[in-house]
Symmetry: C2
Subunit: 125 residues, 2 copies
Amino acid sequence: MKFNDKVPIYYQIKQYVYQEIILGHLKAGQKLPAIRQLAVTLTVNVNTIQRALSELTTEGIIITQRGKGNFVTSDTQLLQALKKRIVTEQFSELYDKMLALKITPAEMVQYLKNYIDQRKEVQHD
Amino acid sequence: MKFNDKVPIYYQIKQYVYQEIILGHLKAGQKLPAIRQLAVTLTVNVNTIQRALSELTTEGIIITQRGKGNFVTSDTQLLQALKKRIVTEQFSELYDKMLALKITPAEMVQYLKNYIDQRKEVQHD
DNA sequence: TATAGTGTAATAGAAAGCTAATACACTATT
DNA sequence: AATAGTGTATTAGCTTTCTATTACACTATA
């Protein structure tokens, strides 16, 4: 797994778990891989995994059962809210950055459309 | 100035300088405040300012004249390209994150519009 | 030429993040 | 009861970032 060296790894792992839940690769109540296994898979130290999972546990997204493993919460409401929260966060960040550059909301939409068109053109090559 | 503790301060200062240039608060050829002054203004150590400016110098955005000060480049082409680069970077990041969540380009546009509408509603309170 | 205002460099130390290694505690299964 | 598979905790050491401090070098000007 590729990590951005400007942001702590444990933080990026949290985001990765969010993503896996949102994509449905991890479902409500499902058991996560063992932390030692995750450490190998993500080529990261066990303590780093621990730190990410401990924050997810604090949020109630992950439930830890000592001796058994880590599980995605069964609180489906919480999981539904998660996707909205994560997606909104991204748009919020973008919006604030654009606003700081005095770019209006209407311009933001136009910039996004233009960017999408550019990507499409490139794909067609 | 508020810094995000998940990202190095020197990196955030770089972004800040980009912003000031894009907004026209710093114009081509203009002298920047002295580094000791910047350090006070941003409540940060001189060395941290140095690191940010040294990277900006490498990019050619800032020209350093020993004993005189730091100046925004007079290369207006470079400065024009800067805004496009910075703005595009933001949309690129957003696009990739949304794609990772299997959100389609059309949905991205809709999400952005919805977010903008939400912000407008809040402002009207 | 002295002085104030600039940038530059180097050193030391603190804090955060990450790794490595080890020991321990709980659970399930044999 | 023993063992294998879990999570938990602790310690030591490395690296990056940031701070603090000091010394130095160049430029402009009184």
